[in-house]
Symmetry: C2
Subunit: 235 residues, 2 copies
DNA sequence: CGATATAGTCAACGTTATTCACTTATATTT
DNA sequence: AAATATAAGTGAATAACGTTGACTATATCG
């Protein structure tokens, strides 16, 4: 056994001591995973990278998750938690739904690489059910019940996730390609025969608008307005 | 030289003869890629799989595309082409936009694994500009011009892509997990403390609805209705 | 203090995208 | 038609990836 403690840095490769027993938990791993994804690259989340981030062996994660996919699903539920942290129902159901929608947009934009992997998943996790209940509460306050309530819930929730998710995916793809954040909102067409595409040609300059959030706001307002118009007895 | 033609099957491993020069083209590769993705698995599209599908060396693809990502982008433009094949403007701008929306939904659902990789990309390809022009034509017919036209175009196009794309992603994830196609539209919560989530508990049974297209229809109608309501001079 | 199960580690495997040196089929030139 | 050039298909090699199984240390319980 000798004096291995004397010059450990010079030793073959074993610089890192073994981690203690309770060092890793699901939460710690999920936090690290989110931190790694927040650097922006879609494929940055690898077991090797997780190991480096936590000073652990890459395979240590398998003691807490049975696959990479399970880690991603846990990150998805964490994203949901972040988005509803501190949420309180507003005075009107429309304001509640607006608030929840903007929260999702903001969280997904902030953690876009993580959101890209998660926006189409149903985690069935502990936080997801909280949001679902919060949305259903607003729907209930508006006056819908039963099947109608669920249909309106579906239209709203699915739309918020889809729009926020696509924005996150575009942000990630833009970062990956080295473009500026709003890059993928810009559509710059230079057709060989402009006369074939008169409308694109006419609006060439205006198509460069890149304020994704304003578009999102417009879409949410459109849905809320249409929902309100179909309210059973709002008179 | 010699009589290698006599027993080629017995030879070491070289069963396949070398392909002729014009055998592979971008189109042929894209078609094969789409065929492979249509089998349903997200990660089925590999160079090895492409090679097998085309009877070619996996690395042959690099003579026509410089990376896997470029193949996926080409598949994206092909999806766009498929979705507008045979499209003709309808009598009213709303019917045109409905038609284009349903086409996108159908194409994305049919080729969901491919759509999952492509719905957030701006391909700037030859087919994309055709759809953009078709949408802008309907917007023009409705009466919008300039900046307003572009904003309404953004709301519409972004929403159709996001909703159809999320549906495609859910279909793919469900296939991957061995669920039935509508699996991810079902949200079945069994909370430990039902009284904490009264609205989820009350609507437990109705939450199992799985008709994604009906929801999509509702969302599109909501947007069209809201757009119509803001038309400048429709009176 | 010693047994035991749990959590972290290490080496290995099969796949993956990508690169590079090569070879051969076709198009062009003479 | 023969010679040449060049683009297109090939195969071996590499590094990184997720996952597995055998191992080994450590915290806790009796």
């Amino acid at each position: 056994m000798g004096e291995s403690a004397e010059a450990p840095a010079r030793a073959k490769k074993k610089a890192r001591p073994r981690l203690g027993r309770g060092t890793l938990t699901r939460e710690i791993i999920v936090d690290a995973a989110l931190r790694i994804l927040d650097e922006g690259q879609v494929n940055a989340l690898t077991f090797a990278r997780l190991g480096k981030e936590l000073g652990a062996s890459p395979t240590a994660m398998y003691r807490h998750f049975s696959s990479r996919d399970q880690i991603v699903t846990a990150v998805a539920d964490e994203l949901i938690r972040l988005s509803i942290e501190g949420y309180e129902p507003a005075a009107s159901w429309m304001d509640s739904l607006r608030d929840l929608a903007y929260r999702a947009w903001r969280t997904f934009a902030e953690h876009h690489a993580a959101a890209m992997h998660t926006f189409y998943r149903v985690t069935l996790g502990p936080n997801e059910i909280r949001v679902v209940d919060a949305i259903l509460e607003a729907i209930h306050d508006a006056g819908w019940r039963g099947r109608d309530a669920v249909f309106n819930y579906q239209m709203y929730a699915n739309m918020v996730l889809a729009l926020s998710g696509r924005n996150a995916a575009m942000l990630t793809a833009a970062a990956e390609a080295g473009m500026e954040p709003g890059g993928f909102w810009v559509q710059e067409y230079r057709p060989a025969h402009p006369e074939e595409f008169p409308y694109v040609t006419e609006l060439r300059d205006e198509l460069q608008i890149r304020d994704g959030f304003a578009v999102f706001q417009g879409q949410i307002e459109a849905l809320l307005m249409a929902m309100k118009a179909t309210l059973p007895s709002s008179a």
